[in-house]
């Protein structure tokens, strides 16, 4: 009798979670995204050096047109690699669990994530266009954090906490102009790796 009641409650909880949250997000995709971000940050630092700019010395001394286009290209590359591999790993995990990838919950999750992300991304492009380079990194962190907080209600709540960390880091970075790349590496690199490992252990 008691075992039946326990099973019933467990079944209720499972159905509620499975039907309203995307539970196949893999922690490994966070780790991979973090590593790619760190590599990207290192590449950016190297590009600065190639243009004879010591990033930590005179960041705001202006830039050559070639520099900006190289950095934008690098950013796109990093973004595509991180999202592509992340999706691949997560789709794999979903299939292993025997669940469907494309459900109404997945749709809700993606809309909640990408609407703020795209709007914020366009805002960043405008800032780039007007040459406000120093606010790009803090802004990206803030926008990404807010997007994660928004998307967190459709997946593990850990994602929401990661969002708060990213947004907070963005605000701190804004108070500390000139160290954007460092904060960017910390937020998109280190935080992703830490959270990825935590989630990997928790939801294997």
């Amino acid at each position: 009798m008691i075992q039946d009641v326990k099973d019933d409650l467990q079944h209720i909880r499972k159905m509620m979670e499975q039907s309203s949250r995307f539970i196949s997000l893999s922690g490994l995709s966070g780790v991979v995204a973090g590593i790619i971000a760190l590599a990207g940050a290192f590449a950016a630092w190297y590009i600065f050096k190639q243009h004879h700019i010591d990033y930590f010395d005179n960041y705001r001394c202006g830039s050559t047109p070639g520099l900006v286009s190289q950095l934008v290209l690098l950013a796109i590359l990093v973004l595509v690699a991180a999202i592509g591999l992340g999706v691949l790993i997560t789709v794999n995990k979903t299939k292993k669990q025997g669940l469907k990838v494309w459900t109404s919950t997945t749709k809700k999750l993606l809309i909640a994530l990408f609407v703020p992300l795209v709007l914020g991304g366009l805002f960043c492009l405008a800032a780039l266009y007007h040459g406000h380079f120093e606010i790009i990194a803090p802004l990206m962190l803030l926008v990404y954090g807010l997007a994660l907080i928004n998307a967190g209600k459709y997946t593990f709540s850990d994602i929401q906490n990661l969002g708060y960390c990213e947004a907070l880091l963005g605000i701190i970075a804004m108070f500390w102009p000139g160290y954007g790349l460092v904060f960017w590496a910390a937020g998109f690199g280190v935080l992703h790796i830490i959270y990825g490992l935590l989630m990997y252990k928790k939801y294997r």
Partner: protein, 96 residues
């Protein structure tokens, strides 16, 4: 056993528990999605849905998508309240 009085006979089946669980956290879930969540056959699901509808615990909506009909379900207020009472009774039983 006065505790058992609060357990609702309508929710005795696992399938019905599942249907109500999905519907308290989602509004308008269609038949195919429900089937996917519960992993049951069409006939089984349909009969339990009918029973819940007759008790007015869920609301049914039929609409055309192209040439096919799509049937979606939503928990009524009464359904949500009754289901919540049932869960509370289960939890009380467990605590003893």
């Amino acid at each position: 056993m006065s505790l058992l009085q609060h357990l609702n006979k309508d929710f005795e089946s696992r399938v019905r528990l599942g249907i109500m669980s999905v519907l308290v956290v989602n509004t308008w879930v269609d038949f195919l999605e429900m089937k996917e969540h519960l992993q049951v056959t069409d006939g089984n699901l349909a009969s339990h849905i009918n029973a819940l509808e007759q008790k007015k615990y869920i609301e049914v909506k039929k609409e055309f998508v192209g040439k096919k009909t799509k049937t979606s379900y939503k928990a009524t207020k009464a359904g949500k309240v009754t289901f919540e009472k049932h869960i509370n009774a289960l939890e009380k039983l467990l605590r003893g």
